[in-house]
Symmetry: C2
Subunit: 172 residues, 2 copies
DNA sequence: GTCAGATGTTTTATTAATAAAACATCTGTA
DNA sequence: TACAGATGTTTTATTAATAAAACATCTGAC
């Protein structure tokens, strides 16, 4: 793997922590109508001091704006970022849970870990795919039924890398 | 989202950096037969000093072992971890590139970002899924053909979160 | 009006991963 | 043999995200 590719990770503008600070504001606004530093800290289970510092940085970056009364909200740019992240989370979770049939908890955790790292294109394409999978199209219905049936028998032996490698090799 | 879920991220035993140090050793061993601190540093495009410190920690954790001549290799545990990570990378990349039809570079970068974060169960289930998709089964073939045909017209309007939300709501 | 409790900020410290620079060691060539 | 170049380590500094503790401010109950 090339160094340019692996170093993309660090250049990700939105860290996991930042993603969740922004998402917390979004959810607090939606659920209780307002969001203060303390509310964010409580929601994320971190200290107020920590939230205060991270949110100060986000205000400086223009992703979060503050009321005359210290009430926080997302800027337009902040909203756009949260939208992409929560969109990715929702579609990945659905795919893992309802297509791959991972248990709820696993799907939730994995989706939460990758939501801020997947590109918007990936989210959009996955949405297309899942939408077609669950559409009324008989081929899609048949495909899903057969996949799930088959999953019950088909138990993987050996290690993952080897299995994937042989799948990839088989194509050529 | 619950705090227990989002904090799982930090508790991930393998960071992106560690994942790539381990993978570099694996690939160097495979490609040139040996791996030293300098080789790893060069492969990752970081300084020798940095690689030295990170690898020291990995030796202390028992994931990497060192020759009498400073040659590095993976322990059994280290091998297991690399196996899971490269397995995840390979299957995610294939899914993104050959099913969702994302361009090569995008698929590579996204797979690289999430490879160490996805659970083994997710990797295994995705492998099952992709294997069936590309199997000789006529339903799978038909399904893929129709999905790709449809993709050409079906352009998404509006924002991702809204589209996913309406997909999710539609089910109930 | 006072005091308790909640809220917000700042300062100090920690951790992981990095760079940079100084230093030590090893190796091969002239 | 001596020196150049590669290799490995250590030390110092930086950054992001955290905790903890000290501090300031605000608010509401009595």
């Amino acid at each position: 793997m090339s160094a340019e590719v692996w170093k993309e990770y660090e250049s990700n503008e939105i860290s996991h922590s930042v993603a969740h600070h922004l998402a917390a504001i979004y959810e607090l606004m939606r659920d209780q109508g307002y969001a203060r530093v303390s509310d964010v800290a409580r929601a994320l289970d971190i200290t107020r001091g920590s939230a205060s510092l991270t949110l100060k940085a986000l205000k400086a970056k223009g992703l979060v704006v503050e009321d005359h009364n210290k009430f926080l909200k997302l800027s337009e740019e902040g909203k756009g970022i949260v939208d992409a992240i929560l969109g990715n989370r929702a579609i990945v979770r659905k795919f893992l849970k309802d297509v791959l049939k991972l248990d709820e908890q696993r799907a939730e955790i994995d989706a939460c870990k990758v939501e801020h790292l997947l590109s918007a294109q990936t989210g959009v394409q996955l949405l297309h795919f899942v939408r077609f999978l669950f559409s009324a199209d008989p081929i899609a219905k048949q495909f899903l039924t057969e996949f799930w049936e088959r999953s019950e028998e088909d138990i993987l032996s050996g290690d993952l890398l080897e299995s994937v490698t042989s799948l990839l090799d088989a194509e050529k």
